[in-house]
């Protein structure tokens, strides 16, 4: 059939290799991409309603069930929000242990995305099983990296999926110095594997696409932000988590059970690895910065397909950071700060592997939750993912239908959307009429 002109519809119902379920649809009329929709049909689970009437101490465990891939992000944002409401600042040892746990989640989630979800696209494979038939060593390296991330989560958090050791104020029990120092050996290996990952993905072929993103990410003064910081944007915003929560307006549209977020109700934006890297690349420690330079990344990356390289660089960073936290580990004693509830509103924001995640809670004097608001990364990114789809489809109209569909799927997977988080179903449909 002829491509590039006439009417085409690319449609994928049941987008694969993303977390959760949704669909994609792109319509092409007379060689021009028209309607583009990332539809999220994942059935709603109403977390914000379930939380009302629960105790403030329950938020980390309940919200972690929003997402099995990034439960730590939910736990950390919930803890930060509750501690802000109760005006508690935890000590440096607790912060360091939280950061170590969070590094474990970044390693696990990024290794999953790079190797099992994203890389097969670049190598023309349906999945990592097919990839393993061609390059078993690469897949084994990815699985070993992932295992190390899970191991960190198990030692610090007590379990890899939905860790049990996290509480508002800190931890139930600080892991022993012996258990933590035993992480050094697998983390050394993981750091080398992460460096090899950067080299591997840097050699992939990338479509020559750049988008004009409005980036939003957390920033800290002295380090690459993960577990805290102020939300900064590429157009000059510099916001506390509470100010961010006030500025972000979510819109409910008919085609999606995820709410669409805009800054000030107007501007779409992008969070996640591209945003973090582009806003904070100067904060990367030397090893990760050198790996980025070696992979040909400049200080800013606007090519969504290269997000796999940025994720690989963040893998190097997370392994390196985790190693340094392991080497300097001192068990917090007590393992948690005492948190006394007070009637207040608190916001907390942290960097989930796939982007910024913020929570805002109103609690009363008894610690009962009155209102809850949870804004996951994919809700914030959905409008930008649709813009990407439009641009990528428009620039790829010379491809045949099957390849165009695959390219469109890839345009969505570039951003590692988590539809379970966003509400939670992703299907891809590309319509060319």
């Amino acid at each position: 059939m002829s491509h590039g002109s006439g009417e085409r519809t690319i449609s994928v119902e049941g987008l694969a290799r993303v977390e959760g379920e949704g669909s994609l649809r792109v319509e092409v009329h007379d060689g021009v991409v028209g309607e583009v929709a990332l539809e999220i049909f994942e059935p709603p689970r109403y977390f914000e309603a379930m939380l009302v009437g629960r105790n403030f101490t329950e938020a980390p465990d309940i919200t972690s069930r929003i997402c099995g891939i990034c439960p730590v992000a939910y736990q950390m944002s919930a803890c930060a929000a509750m501690e802000a409401a109760c005006e508690v600042v935890v000590d440096e040892r607790i912060r360091a242990l939280r950061r170590l746990l969070y590094c474990g989640e970044w390693i696990q989630s990024h290794a999953l995305h790079v190797y099992l979800l994203h890389a097969p696209d670049f190598l023309g494979c349906a999945d990592a099983v097919e990839l393993a038939e061609r390059d078993q060593g690469a897949v084994e390296r990815g699985l070993d990296l992932k295992r190390t991330g899970n191991l960190v989560m198990e030692i610090v958090g007590g379990r890899a999926v939905h860790p049990v050791n996290v509480r508002v104020g800190g931890f139930y029990r600080a892991p022993s110095p012996e258990a933590v120092s035993a992480l050094a050996e697998p983390l050394f290996r993981a750091r080398d594997q992460a460096l090899a990952t950067v080299e591997w993905v840097a050699g992939f072929d990338f479509p020559d696409v750049e988008a004009d993103y409005r980036f939003v990410a957390l920033r800290e003064q002295d380090r690459y932000a993960i577990d805290s910081g102020r939300a900064v944007s590429s157009d000059g915003h510099d916001l506390s988590p509470a100010e961010l929560s006030a500025l972000v307006v979510e819109e409910h549209v008919e085609r999606s059970t995820a709410l669409h977020a805009r800054l000030g109700g107007v501007d779409q934006y992008l969070t996640g690895p591209l945003a973090r890297y582009s806003l904070n690349s100067a904060m990367l420690p030397p090893l990760a910065a050198e790996a980025a330079a070696g992979a040909g990344l400049g200080p800013v990356c606007k090519n969504p397909f290269r997000s796999i390289v940025v994720r690989a660089v963040e893998l190097v960073f997370a392994c390196d950071e985790a190693l340094s936290l392991v080497e300097n580990y001192e068990p917090p004693n007590p393992p948690a700060a005492t948190v006394v509830p007070r009637a207040a509103i608190g916001s907390g924001a942290t960097e989930a592997p796939r982007g910024l995640l913020f929570h805002t809670y109103e609690i009363d004097d008894a610690g009962t939750i009155r209102t809850a608001r949870i804004v996951p990364p994919t809700s914030q990114n959905q409008l930008t993912i649709e813009s990407d789809l439009r641009q990528v489809a428009q620039e790829s109209l010379d491809l045949g239908d099957d390849e165009l569909q695959w390219r469109c799927e890839q345009a969505v997977r570039n951003h590692d959307p988590c539809i379970s988080c966003a509400a939670h179903f992703l299907d891809v449909t590309v319509e060319s009429s």
Binding site: A16, V18, F47, A49, D61, C67, G68, V161
Partner: protein
């Protein structure tokens, strides 16, 4: 299962967090061996390739919360020789089962500006409320070693075993001092099914019931003990009302402690009979 070919496995998702599916991918050491032993015919989170059924075995994650899903689970059942429900959502309705205790439409109006756009049922129900299930694997999330054990048993033609005893026995096994007895820490261990390895008491935390009720849970006795430790009925009701809130034993105790009773009980196609 046909002895000549690798058995086919399909993985399905309903309302859930993906964590139980992730547990399959978390079998890092065994994953490549597993995919050499069985053919993963449908697993959207892992592959864009999908083979048509029927399948020898389906693993089903998530609960039924929409009319479409109530229909889809029947199709899945028809395509599957064996069906295993995995995780608290699929076996008890999950954390989203809390909606079963709220007035119809109340939850949607809290979260969405236009609840009229939302097509969801008033209830979150387990897979077994809709179709016959060959085996239930509990947990929020499931334990990946238990999953591997069950898959191995099925592949070998053995009957898989899922523990029916309590977390208490796991604490004894690992030598963890009883938190409830020694410190008065509220712990759901005595009424909660084993399978996690007693990881919460292992970090000085009371069990919070991820694996749901044991086969013979004496919840009233435990609730009495909680009262003796100074918990209010509201606190006790909340302890029974989390990830397995709609599991019958936990639901009954949470209601006995004064929690709101389940409001909506009907869901479409709620006939487990004759739909294979």
């Amino acid at each position: 299962m046909s002895p000549s070919a690798r058995p086919t496995v399909a993985v399905w998702k309903f309302a859930s967090c993906d964590g139980c599916q992730l547990s399959i991918l978390d079998c890092e050491e065994e994953l490549l061996q597993l995919v050499g032993t069985v053919r993963i015919a449908h697993f959207l989170e892992m592959s864009r390739a999908s083979a048509k059924g029927p399948y020898d075995l389906s693993l089903v994650e998530g609960s039924i919360t929409t009319e479409d899903d109530a229909k889809r689970i029947k199709q899945v059942r028809r395509m599957s020789r064996k069906l295993i429900a995995i995780g608290a959502c699929a076996t008890a309705g999950g954390i989203q089962g809390l909606r079963n205790f709220a007035a119809s439409g109340e939850y949607a109006s809290v979260v969405y500006a236009h609840p009229e756009y939302i097509k969801a049922l008033d209830t979150s129900t387990p897979i077994s409320a809709h179709v016959p299930v060959d085996l239930e694997l509990y947990g929020c999330p499931i334990d990946r070693f238990q999953l591997l054990g069950v898959l191995t048993a099925i592949l070998a033609g053995r009957r898989p075993r899922v523990p029916g005893h309590s977390v208490c026995q796991e604490c004894k096994g690992r030598g963890t001092v009883c938190l409830l007895v020694s410190r008065g820490t509220p712990c759901m261990g005595p009424v909660t099914r084993a399978g996690c390895g007693a990881i919460c008491p292992g970090v000085d935390r009371g069990c919070f019931g991820c694996f749901g009720p044991t086969d013979t849970a004496n919840t009233a006795s435990l609730a009495g003990q909680f009262r003796g430790e100074g918990l209010t009925p509201v606190d006790t009701s909340r302890l029974f009302r989390t990830f397995n809130a709609a599991a019958p034993a936990f639901m009954a105790e949470s209601v006995a402690q004064g929690g709101a009773p389940p409001v909506a009980v009907s869901s479409p196609g709620n006939d487990a009979e004759g739909d294979r």
